[in-house]
Symmetry: C2
């Protein structure tokens, strides 16, 4: 007795919203654009999702639920295998960022479109969006931070937390794929198509992240030091 919940319309709305939020941001995308692109009636969003806020949250939830579960699964598997011994930093970084980046090839999980959306929205100014991410991510982040603490016992925890932050920034910006600064331009980069460039992005980014994570500790110029 009516438990079906019309799969088609709701899904078409979420797909269109995913594309448009990626291209124009939350505030920059109107309900009329979304329903227009989805080929459904304007009122369908409020009927199926409730509101624009609920819509954008659902756009993320249907992808992030899987991502966070997968990250947890991978970390648990690695830790079970290690049997109490610390993991290698490269394993941890791959478990967190590699799992994310491999979503690019998985069209069922949103593919590159969702990755770019996520990269851009992580710095979105809307208060409730940032609050949503903080809630949705906190458990996984804490687990991975703990793993890094164990893997790098000689590095101060504060330092690891900051480097995690930096890694997130580099990754977020890379997957946002904004050519804002045309950093990656007509320089004779040999790669041809975007797919190929993406294949090579992952090992490139991983090398960079690990290099940053394992960099020598910074020297602070304060406290009992000379100047200032």
């Amino acid at each position: 007795m009516a438990e079906v919940r019309s799969p088609d319309t709701r899904e078409r709305i979420l797909d269109a919203a995913e594309r448009l939020f990626m291209a124009h941001g939350y505030e920059g995308t109107s309900m009329r654009q979304i329903t227009g692109e989805a080929g459904v009636n304007l009122a369908a969003v409020n009927y199926h999702l409730g509101s624009k806020k609920a819509l954008v949250q659902e756009v993320f939830r249907r992808r992030l639920d899987w991502l966070n579960d997968e990250r947890m699964r991978v970390l648990n598997a690695m830790e079970a295998e290690a049997d109490g011994k610390p993991l290698k930093p490269s394993q941890i970084v791959d478990g967190f960022f590699g799992t994310l980046l491999r979503m690019a090839d998985d069209e069922r999980r949103g593919g590159i479109t969702f990755l770019r959306l996520l990269g851009r929205m992580l710095t979105d100014p809307s208060e409730f969006i940032r609050a949503f991410f903080a809630h949705e991510y906190s458990e996984v982040i804490d687990r991975y931070k703990e793993a890094l603490f164990k893997a790098l016992p000689d590095v101060p925890k504060a330092e690891i937390v900051w480097r995690f932050h930096f890694m997130l920034g580099a990754t977020s910006y890379a997957i946002a794929g904004t050519d804002a600064l045309r950093v990656v331009t007509d320089w004779q980069i040999e790669e041809a198509d975007a797919t190929d460039r993406l294949d090579r992005l992952v090992p490139r980014l991983m090398s960079f992240l690990l290099g940053g994570l394992r960099a020598p500790l910074p020297q602070f110029s304060d406290a009992e030091a000379v100047g200032k």
Copy 2:
């Protein structure tokens, strides 16, 4: 004969816009919020700046002009000093990112507010904003890329370009200062106030960037390789 161009109102508008764009983004900030915070009439923005688009561009231009000039000046000075020899990567990174980060302490240049605004807007979805950055930055970026090519002759140029991209992302995210993922939370980070945290952020970020820039080259698993 009228060359004064009322310094006060125009500047008050730009200051208020800088704060509000930082807090709520371009699309999320209305002209009425801006003129309200600035304490000027609604029509003043269109009178002094022309339009909302022209306003946001001027908000950036009055800061970025100085930043880019300063980056050029620093690079030229270092290269003159080096007298034809390649610069050290740490010098180049400091010239580009250090010069940016030191703006945080310079209230005349917008201080931390402008830095956070810049960090967030670099991934802003609005097309014309990204185009504006691409135009405003390209010359400086090219000069610094060339310096890195010379400083790291054994690293493929494509690799350096990507790592520049990654460094930009880490920096942009760090200065955006979004606690989106609460990565930097109540973990007993010893620092007290935000100013102190910012002082220590610079050497921390620099270490991370240099570690990433100098990381071992990635291994690609394609071409004449085994799988896939």
